[in-house]
């Protein structure tokens, strides 16, 4: 993979890319969009037993201006969708979204008139986590998957060479 990259991008941009991606992935500050039951499991992930700050998510800032990743935890209704989108728009780039739980990913067990069947209908999602609610270990796994995805991000490469992001299958496990 490294040989391939050497041939496609410049040597300097890939080294800089690695440094920038390493810095980004190890300091992902989450924006907890805690809406319902999954929010309690998210709080449990931040609690001393499961400790999300080991992975760089040191603080859960509740202001979107200082956050990198928005964890949408809970059922999103049509009334709440406008608010979620607004918060997503207020986050500065680069930003990612983790859709935590069955309700955020696909509407969950609530197939009714007021629940949006999946937040990917109005925000772009990077990682989906299954579970109702997902155990804290599952949320940590999602964070690590997101970190793998960021690792392979062509930050400067995209800027200078205008290429698409390509994630090799082998790195996602």
């Amino acid at each position: 993979m490294a040989l391939e990259k050497l041939q496609q991008d410049g040597f300097l941009t890939t080294r800089l890319d690695e440094v920038i991606n390493w810095a980004r992935k190890n300091s992902l500050w989450p924006m907890p969009m805690g809406i319902s039951c999954c929010a309690i499991e998210m709080m449990a992930t931040a609690s001393p037993r499961f400790d999300i700050s080991r992975f760089g998510s040191e603080v859960m800032r509740f202001t979107p201006r200082q956050c990198d990743v928005m964890i949408v935890a809970g059922t999103v209704t049509y009334k709440m969708a406008k608010v979620v989108r607004k918060i997503y728009d207020q986050m500065p780039d680069p930003k990612w979204v983790i859709s935590m739980g069955a309700c955020a990913s696909s509407g969950g067990m609530f197939r009714s008139y007021s629940v949006v069947q999946g937040i990917d209908q109005f925000v772009p999602v990077d990682v989906f986590v299954a579970g109702c609610p997902p155990r804290p270990e599952a949320l940590l796994n999602a964070l690590i998957t997101l970190q793998h995805k960021i690792e392979n991000d062509r930050t400067l490469g995209k800027l200078f060479h205008g290429e698409q992001i390509h994630i090799p299958e082998s790195s996602l496990s």
Partner: protein, 417 residues
């Protein structure tokens, strides 16, 4: 841009805010008021609660809460599925103490169908409800303290809560949303391993709660922020229909476990904790004392737990044991009918309530004789408790709103159904 402000001005909720009685006297009126939106996404609102606050400087003149950001349509969903299928949905109502919702719902359906529980099942339900009460109060006191500024308390209470969730994990397979009860009993049996874990938890619990309380008992900042804040007189609280620790902190000793006993609370010895000051600090201490009472109940129930079946033996109403379903013909047929068509209740209406950690959690079921309810209404204590919010915050400061919401302890999954 123009149309957005038009929309805001014509909004009915803003009109409701403006219409409210604003006779609050302030020391130094600025002569112009500001409307602040504590939006659905806010660190201190315990979920998605929107609060429109009219301010004069820092003093709150009026407030209007708006619900509905988590309205998932439970009651409509209930009309379209059998009683058993609705049990996982009840978990997600008061998501801080899921097992007590399961128990409340199962009790309502059993009252309707006329199913009697064996004693072991009743004791197991009492054990689960009291553990759920402790877990919920731990989160409530932890988040109230965190909202006021004492972050350590939340981390310590979550550490205690993890021990209870471990017991649930061994008992039902899920740490959190358990779906543990079935109509007529429980899904699996209480094992000796659960007893060992629970006894280990109880051995240290009193000491841990005392430790947590010592952090705050003489803390001048905590007392100043919570004492006298959110006061409502006893008559106002009863008139508004509040229940739970909020009502007990106003001096009314109403506890459904004592007044209209259900399950085996008749045989257990515990005190109903009341206070008289009816402010945020009193509610906080009522919750801490209730945790100690729950620990007392747990010790007694563990001693008295009888042997026997954990599910009633009524084949047409109660799911048969899985081992027999896989091997015997009649049980297979009963299982099939119960899952597909549902429990066979008579035509009628019942209301059944339990004392959950937030207040009176009740289910009103109208049945038309089929396996699906015709109407199911969930009486959620958090929604009724939130009604008192505009009365409590009037005249206080913005920072008091946070302490008051914490002391009311609303759970939006329940309030919005």
């Amino acid at each position: 841009m123009n149309s957005r402000s038009e929309e805001t001005r014509k909004s009915k909720i803003l009109a409701a805010l403006e219409d409210q009685d604003t006779s609050v006297s302030v020391d130094d009126p600025l002569e112009n008021s500001m409307v602040l939106n504590m939006g659905p996404q806010h660190p201190a609102t315990h979920g998605v609660l929107r609060l429109l606050v009219k301010l004069d400087g820092e003093t709150v003149i009026a407030a209007v809460p708006e619900l509905g950001y988590l309205h998932r349509g439970y009651e409509k969903l209930a009309e379209n599925m059998t009683y058993h299928e609705f049990i996982p949905h009840t978990d997600r109502l008061d998501y801080l103490s899921p097992i007590s919702n399961n128990v409340a719902f199962a009790m309502a359906v059993e009252k309707l169908a006329g199913v009697e529980l064996p004693p072991r099942a009743q004791y197991i339900r009492v054990l689960c409800c009291e553990m759920a009460r402790i877990a919920s109060h731990l989160v409530a006191t932890g988040s109230m303290a965190m909202d006021v500024g004492a972050l350590t308390v939340l981390l310590w209470t979550f550490r205690e809560r993890e021990k209870i969730l471990d017991v649930y994990d061994v008992l039902c397979g899920a740490r959190f949303t358990t779906s543990y009860t079935r109509i007529g009993g429980m899904s699996t049996d209480w094992t000796p391993q659960c007893t060992t874990m629970l006894e280990a938890f109880l051995a240290e619990f009193d000491k841990d709660v005392t430790e947590i309380e010592q952090l705050l008992r003489t803390n001048r900042i905590f007392i100043d922020r919570c004492e006298g804040v959110g006061y409502l007189s006893r008559d106002q609280i009863v008139g508004l229909g509040l229940t739970g620790p909020v009502l007990r902190a106003a001096g009314v000793p109403r506890d459904l476990r004592r007044d209209n006993p259900y399950l085996v609370y008749n045989d257990l010895d515990f005190n109903v904790v009341t206070a008289t000051e009816s402010d945020a600090l009193a509610r906080f201490y009522v919750r801490i004392a209730e945790m100690r009472e729950s620990a007392k109940i747990l010790r007694q129930a563990l001693e008295k737990l009888p042997a026997g079946p954990f599910r009633a033996d009524e084949p047409k109403r109660v799911l048969p044991e899985k081992g027999r379903t896989y091997t015997k013909m009649e049980e297979l047929i009963y299982d099939f009918m119960l899952i597909n068509i549902g429990v066979d209740p008579p035509v009628g209406e019942v209301y059944s309530a339990i004392e959950s950690s937030k207040g009176e959690l009740g289910f009103y079921i109208v049945s038309d004789g089929t396996g699906q309810p015709w109407r199911m209404k969930i009486r959620s204590p958090s929604m009724t408790n939130l009604q008192a919010l505009p009365y409590m915050v009037k005249g206080g400061m913005i920072s008091d709103i946070v302490a008051i919401i914490g002391s009311l302890d609303p759970v939006m999954g329940e309030a919005d159904k």
